[in-house]
Symmetry: D2
Subunit: 143 residues, 4 copies
């Protein structure tokens, strides 16, 4: 079965480590955000152009399960699936895997929406198209 | 009714803002971690001494509900409650409130444990004492 | 002799430490920026309002001398002086001192200017007033 | 003339932008550090192994000239040269260029040394070998 999930390869940078010698918890949100924006870009949605146009993609909930640490020098990849969960909300399912041994490092679920300049939720057409049934990415359970 | 929850006052720093002009999602994990460490310190537990002694306090799960943004110049406070949820796990319930209008900005639940140098979960005595029934902080639902 | 320099008290947050167990080099630029913005605010200049009005205060050069490390739990203070160095440029002289022993941790010189929406240097009136001879802060050599 | 400088390709991540919509000043120190560590690794020197062995590579001075901003979506490359400047000190000359138009974004000079567990400067053999005349990287003025 072909695996056509969106994947992003990354590598730990040493400034992301904390005094325990592991990637600090908060840094995973940086990784996950970067991966989501790269995914959107690959689908023709430029996060920064949205921001300039006063369309704000926002996170309303994050769930993160930390399974194993990443350390200095580690390479890893992030897999991503996107699904619509309500008329105005969507969920990114992302999982981070250490490249060396394939070990699951983190599983995350990030619920987002888009709001306009007045703070009202709405989905811009490009996002609506991305979330339409035919355009869906393959969905995989992350837990 | 007296409110004896642990609280920490903080202020947004401008480098914590992203291109949307709001505090970036990941930064809230920095705030929450800092608040947990200050709380522990107020109870006689020094996170860095633990780390030097090869006792690692680690997060195993985070849940974050983003309710409202923080912007440049905003002051805020974080409330914290701690409860034991299993023999080796404990949960921090934290909520962030904007100082100006008291609005709830974020509610978070962070599940942690401690591991020794070999990666095995165990609770050091100081933490065991903190989690003992009589030592518990007042618990408040955050949602 | 009274010392009327602008000073800001801060405390290391554990997520700012790197794997060496000290505050990472880059974090000092965060500290310095936060101190500059707090200083400006104390003089009636709101960095974020400037940004919203499309007036961009920018750094053109930084010089940093790292003298001693900061570690987890350390409190410190930053002293700040401001001087005009040319019609359109000004320099912040900042030095960071560990609170416990007063030791000099870092001395920095940051040269800035302001640019408008088209990227042209210009000084907004509030900044011009702040830099006028009578309004100058006491200047102290940092090295 | 062949150009055998060490170069690293990178891309701006959106969480690195601040409210002005450009990469925040402090983030450049993250980029520069990552590039130095990748360079060292390419020469057989593992920064994290040094740290584990209680050999600390430290920065004693940084000079940064900010020439142009990086924005969301920008790719860039960093060039690096290393030279010994005294028996116990070395300087990294690094310059950041925007990939699209080749424009110089930042030029930096970072002076470093190594210290042992007791805080005394000393150069470990691997670093001594790297800094030996024959092993030098091509040196290029960055200004």
């Amino acid at each position: 079965m072909p695996d056509d999930r969106f994947k992003l390869e990354m590598k730990v940078r040493d400034y992301e480590l904390d005094a325990q010698g592991v990637v600090n918890n908060a840094v995973y949100l940086n990784y996950l955000e970067h991966c989501r924006h790269e995914f959107l870009l690959s689908r023709g949605i430029d996060f920064n152009r949205f921001t300039n146009d006063r369309v704000f993609l926002v996170v309303v909930r994050s769930e993160l399960d930390y399974k194993a640490p990443l350390r200095g020098g580690d390479s890893f990849w992030i897999g991503l699936d996107l699904e619509r969960i309500s008329p105005l909300r969507f969920a990114f399912l992302q999982d981070i895997h250490r490249r060396d041994d394939g070990r699951l490092v983190l599983a995350a679920r990030t619920i987002g929406t888009a709001i306009n300049e007045k703070g009202r939720p709405f989905l811009p057409p490009a996002l609506e198209a991305l979330l339409a049934p035919g355009a869906k990415t393959v969905q995989t359970a992350v837990k």
